[in-house]
Subunit: 404 residues, 2 copies
């Protein structure tokens, strides 16, 4: 794999990064200099900028076996390796790895931390070259198309023109759709999972609650907490708790916790975490703070809220896909109430309207939105089957023939 | 209507109330002295205590036309009069009034602010007689049965033994069920609406987020904000925003707001309220603070979380209703995802198991949980029809024959 002059190993070239709260240990980083700005939908540009990324598997000789994975709101580039901050498995190790549905014995998998993120890519924690201080809210609002444009720059840098596949769930799925719409000739196949072509009112509403929770925390300091050496821990934890409920189904919560009490035999008639579900939520909230940046959370949620693929195409979603040659596998889950099946169906209908090659799988699951991250054999079968068929169609060389 | 020696008009006998943030203008208040404590499920007792209440219509001679209304989490006793703090119509004016489904030309309607509330009844804002300071978190945790026991005390005070009907939605519906279970011989008919016999994991989870938002606000001061002359406005506003989303259906939000922008033609690429739904939520959050007490919010949510009628009856819901002679009209709404129809169905099945007289109406509505507060002709028809039939069965005198 080529390593351009401005690709650095962690610890090198970290200039332009604010103190490493979450950082990018173990990840490769590409630095795009001031002279090569990222054009943004807001009208401005970001320069310089960096992307931290992980790769898995081996790039074959004709570079035809690349699978780009796009992470979700709270995800990062650590798809299939132990996470350097949490020491937990990669967020999609169930899906990606040797012999897995996205088989790293066969495919060269790339995943980059999104622009605006906090695991090594340039985001609101990074130093603003104009002030020498962390950007905070001076960081430009980033859109899903901006993130995709940055990913395309990374691929260009790696000398990769064509994607065999782009895959992702939730916000990652939005990026998959944006890739398919904006880079039609670079995407052979696409797997948008548990996602939508636009954020609904309810989605925006939940995000707004999270943002208000962060901004209500006096330690947020108008976004300048790094400078003032505080951290809006409580606000970010509340935001995460609220979001976390939306990732699970009512049934999943019931099965997992019911009304079970936490380490006690009876109600305490107080405000401690009497119920297991309370204890669980608090844990989710407060561990999130250790690996995620509050301002990044604002920017990531805003990018999702702003996403409306049809609006960018005269209000007609089908127009986004006109002339597409990409093969699509669209997946939804029956109990996902954050991105319900009807949102995926709208995507499929738009694809059908332009006679795209599309398969649609609605998976029976009671795990809610998070099902795409969990052990769902039907999901793995669908992705694996789709990729195998696409690989045959693409005439992909077998692993043994791959080279670097 | 009788007025006992310790019933006072507003402004009188307000001793025992902390500064009147929300207060009880226009409401009657009954004060129960130290010698007449309210026994609580937590094992303690509350004394002295007061209840602020409203009445509508005229009590008939044999006191057989009483309808008790139980308000929801954020409601109060101002059912059918202009609210003294917000100047808005009473929260159930669509349902209660002359000629309405709960017809005040016919029935004598009573509604009391719950114990633990903040509109004149004793709650965490009230002065703790032991310290002379507002209770704050020293206020005992109150349960739904505690609230119902207090209401029974109010009725005793008013010389009313039997309820022709007890009606309410959401948390009010929980109280309706508790009334029917605990005071079988005092309840002729009961209308639990959009409610459940227990709070689910998901319900508890949403409440926990709200509580954490309040407690995360440094102005909450461990619950002693009245003493320290602060107010956890931001925390309470965030709690209300999160809860408010759960009161509406995805469709209702979509119909109301879609992705419409607020007073602007294009996205601003910032964190202002670009979308109408954001502006609406912020408004809901920050106006709530003017009429509701943050600690009361903690106590009301906790009471709902703790509610589990079956658990109080050997885990068998039907046992709660054994031997009941009450006539029930159970109502749910198709788009209510906070208290979905299956929760009402569980109540109906328990009632059927004891051969209770029960009718069950699932109303087609896309307005979500809040449908019970809104213009829903089918709801009004169901309640009106049920009450007319029950009145005939009860042999209720016509309005003209009512006296006081």
């Amino acid at each position: 794999m080529n390593e351009a002059k401005w690709t650095s190993k962690p610890g090198q070239g970290a200039k332009g990064r604010a103190r490493a709260l979450p950082h990018a240990p173990g990840s490769q980083i590409v630095h795009f200099p001031q002279s090569e700005p990222l054009q943004l939908d807001c009208g401005g540009a970001l320069a310089p900028f960096s992307l931290a990324y992980q790769t898995y598997g081996t790039l074959n000789e004709d570079k035809s076996n690349v699978v780009l994975i796009c992470h979700a709101l709270s995800g990062d580039q650590h798809v299939a390796n132990t996470h350097p901050v949490t020491d937990k498995p990669g967020w999609w190790e169930t899906m990606v790895g040797p012999g897995k549905a996205i088989d790293t014995d066969r495919f060269f998998v790339v995943c980059a931390n999104h622009v605006g993120g906090c695991m090594g890519s340039t985001g609101p924690m990074s130093l603003n070259p104009e002030t020498g201080k962390p950007y905070g809210l001076d960081f430009p609002v980033i859109t899903i198309p901006d993130m995709v444009r940055a990913q395309a720059r990374l691929l260009d840098h790696l000398g990769i023109r064509d994607l065999f596949c782009v895959a992702g769930g939730s916000m990652g799925g939005m990026q998959v759709l944006e890739w398919a719409a904006s880079y039609k000739d670079r995407v052979f196949s696409a797997i948008p999972i548990a996602t939508a072509a636009r954020h609904t009112s309810q989605n925006i509403a939940f995000h707004e609650v999270g943002r208000q929770a962060i901004m209500a925390d006096p330690d947020w300091r108008g976004g300048r907490y790094l400078d003032e050496e505080t951290l809006p821990r409580k606000g970010l934890a509340v935001a995460r708790m609220a979001a976390h409920i939306t990732y699970l189904s009512d049934n999943a919560l019931h099965r997992k916790f019911g009304r079970n009490l936490q380490d006690r035999d009876a109600l305490t008639f107080g405000f401690d975490a009497d119920f297991q579900v309370e204890s669980y939520l608090r844990h989710q909230g407060y561990t999130f703070v250790d690996r995620f940046d509050a301002n990044s959370y604002l920017y990531m949620t805003r990018a999702m809220d702003y996403f409306d693929l049809a609006a960018d195409h005269d209000g007609v979603l089908a127009k986004a896909f006109e002339g597409t040659g990409t093969r699509f596998c669209c997946v939804s889950f029956t109990s996902d109430w954050l991105f319900p099946t009807e949102e995926t169906r709208a995507i499929v209908q738009a694809l059908n309207a332009v006679a795209a090659n599309v398969s649609f799988v609605e998976i029976e699951s009671d795990k809610g939105h998070d099902a795409f991250l969990l052990e769902e054999p039907e999901l793995f079968d669908a992705v694996s089957g789709f990729l195998s068929a696409a690989a045959r169609r693409r005439g992909l060389a077998l692993p043994g023939a791959a080279g670097d």
